[in-house]
Amino acid sequence: MLHRGTGNLVLTEEGIRAINNSLGNLVMDSGAKAALLLDKSGQLIAAQGETNALDTMSLSALITGSFGSNKAIANLVGETEFRRMFQQGQSSSIYMAQLVTHDLIAVIFSNAITVGKIKFRVDQMLDTLNQQMQAMYNSTPEAPFRAAPSAGPKLSDLF
């Protein structure tokens, strides 16, 4: 049994398949380059589209950080949070939205596509993603490691 103190998020194979399917559809329907799903601690849950050229780990940490700092900005102007964010670049842009689980979806798209279209498609997909992520949080955790101490030698090799 896993410690739930820090509330681990367990991604099951079916769960991930469903989410990849949603993200894949979103990329296809909107014409976006890539769609990422990030958990609230800044880690990548899933990604679809042209992700090979992306440093998804750094992107996840930075997007989550910027979303969080914007929440603080929201508080300063009397809002509890900004649920959507849009970053516009020269040739591509990023649209971000928060799920009810506080995880984030980030869509990277070429400026040949309007942000309105991306926003529309993301909004269409949000309910499904909300349900899929809530199902994951509700799934029964199972310990990935049978015995902990065997991590010891591995760490000694590395560091």
Binding site: T6, N8, A151
Partner: protein
């Protein structure tokens, strides 16, 4: 909170270096970055001010390879120590799996260390976490300097629970990997 992916058989854990400003948190990450091969560590990202003080966070991803059939990755973060950046510190603790508390051993920093520890507990409590629920280790840094508290004094002041603690000179790298190894083990032990 660890992200455990049974589809890709990957585990991602978040480790945060916490502590008073200028205590040596960023220096720890810089040393780890320098020492590890590029295959094991990713690029280090530092969101710093022009005077090189951490503004938001430093981030360094590590790939520990396969542990019991799971590709195991750690994300190391540091927080900004400046008192006025508490919002950033709180944010970075979101979803934390393990903490390294870096204390500055200089005598005149003792009160700041104690305050930073108190601030950390307060920020953890916002996520429903306590120092009982999150594994953490201590690092007593800057042991090379002259006017420093003894190991026993530091233990008495900021280690009431008697967790693992390490003396370090982060600028030279001493104690850096011992600290990282201890927190890594503590975090991985939680997953069994």
């Amino acid at each position: 909170m660890a992200l455990i992916n049974y589809a890709s058989r990957e585990i991602n854990c978040k480790i945060v270096y916490y502590g008073t400003g200028l205590g040596g948190k960023t220096t720890n990450l810089e040393y780890i970055f320098k020492q590890l091969a590029p295959g094991i560590r990713g690029e280090m990202i530092s969101l710093a001010t022009e005077t090189e003080r951490t503004l938001f966070f430093d981030f360094l991803p590590l790939d520990l390879g396969s542990v019991q059939g799971f590709k195991t990755k750690f994300s190391l973060y540091t927080v900004p120590g400046q008192v006025e950046y508490n919002a950033s510190r709180k944010l970075i603790l979101n979803g934390v799996d393990g903490i390294v508390f870096v204390a500055d051993s200089q005598r005149e920093k003792m009160a700041e260390n104690i305050e930073s520890m108190r601030n950390m507990e307060e920020n953890l409590s916002e996520y429903g976490l306590t120092l009982e629920s999150v594994p953490y280790v201590l690092q007593y840094n800057k042991r090379d300097l002259g006017n420093i508290s003894t190991f026993e004094e530091l233990e008495a002041a900021i280690n009431p629970r008697g967790v693992s603690s390490f003396e370090a000179v982060a600028v030279e790298g001493s104690g850096v990997f011992a600290t990282l190894k201890a927190v890594s083990k503590a975090v991985l032990n939680r997953l069994s």
